[in-house]
Amino acid sequence: MDSLLIFFKRIYVLLIFIVLEVTAIVFVVRGDVQRNSVFFTSANYIMGKIYTVTWHGYFSLKDENMEARSASGVYISDTAKFHNYVDTAGQILKYRYITAAIVKNSVSRQNNFITLDAGSLKGVKEDMGVVSPDGVVGVVVAVSDHFSLALSVLNKKIGVSAKLKNNDFYGSIVWTGKDYRKAFLTEIPNHVELKKGDTVVTSGYSAVFPVGIPIATIDAFEKNSDDNFYNISVTFLNDLKSLNNVLIIENLMQKEQLELEGLESKFVQ
């Protein structure tokens, strides 16, 4: 018994180490994918406040902030770019826009997130798209009262449904995980004619983004003989490292569309 106690005394530090390390690694392994609890992320109120102070107080231009926001919550300073999506009176409104500022951003990890300063009190919900005037930024995955957390397009867990602007062939944009300016466009078949500099836009199939929001331009492509799809490398139009203001897009018909699409399984035997 004594020798057991002595043995235990000798290795208890190692045991504590193993317990703590395993706990941490379990969180890494099952972490990222589902984030139901906002409390343990930077979108929670206190963390959000601290980030608002540091990120915006010292490191960005406040004036620019104010200019881009309007009282009505609709983006007005750059309407030209969003012209197609802002419905005028008399039409059925499909998309609504909520302005927000980025409180925290990262580009250096494999799975990057963005914290925004608009939360459920401003009407932000999960699965809303986030865009800037230059293009797609991410998708909201968790919301607190005053803040929301979005998956950045620089996240390997997200693939944005995209298509070529000039011929409508669709695929999906997946980040390389290497350079914050570069991504891959997958699933474009070999027979399509491509040019360097072609624009890639959102396909509108996903019920998150409206159709035609710019994402990236093609900078290199090669035919892949293994499967009949291209390897395409694209450059983001957004500089994701220097973003300040964004629009959160609410698709008012998202629920209706997804419910209807849910019926698909009924007709597949």
């Binding site: 208890y12 530090v13 706990t23 969180f27 930077s42 990262s106």
Partner: protein
């Protein structure tokens, strides 16, 4: 269990985390996106008299704090716990001839540059390796991860040495 030691420990913890979030999180060098992980200062500066099990717990707390700020469940924690455990082993391995006396600190000015470099470089390397390996999850683009470990490690080391001349003078 000296009150002064522990209040100082708490202050170091607060400052390391705040400086990391307010200053170093805004640094992002080059296309690799190098952000120095300065907060490991807290583990490096832990006094010798803190019991080993508590060093591990403190490592866990520090990592967890960073994870909450960075939305990276477990990532920083795995690295800091490993670092805290390695610290115990490394302190044994590089202990001075007469061992560590009470009242001594692992500061550059007290232990000398030679000892401090061995100590900090090895621990920062262990921490950064764990952090970036887990971040890229395996050996997917290994050379890039390696480059990131080395460059970020150099940046961190540089700032840690600066901190010694600024805040840990005799």
């Amino acid at each position: 269990m000296d009150f002064r030691v522990y209040s100082r420990l708490f202050l170091t913890y607060l400052l390391s985390v705040l400086i990391q979030i307010m200053v170093f999180h805004n640094i992002n060098i080059g296309t690799l996106g190098i952000t120095p992980l300065f907060y490991v200062l807290f583990i490096l500066m832990m006094p010798y008299e803190v019991p080993a099990w508590f060093q591990l717990v403190l490592g866990f707390v520090l990592g967890w704090t960073m994870d909450v700020f960075c939305d990276t469940p477990g990532l920083h924690t795995s690295a800091t716990v490993l670092m805290a455990y390695s610290r115990i082993k490394i302190l044994e391995a590089i202990s001075p001839r007469d061992g560590y006396e009470t009242g001594m600190h692992p500061y550059l000015m007290e232990m000398g540059i030679h000892w401090f470099l061995k100590y900090s470089v090895s621990l920062i390397f262990i921490h950064h390796t764990a952090y970036f390996m887990l971040d890229s999850f395996g050996f997917d683009n290994f050379s890039r991860t390696l480059l990131k470990i080395v460059l970020t490690g150099l940046c961190t080391e540089l700032f840690i040495i600066f901190s010694q001349y600024i805040a840990y003078r005799k």
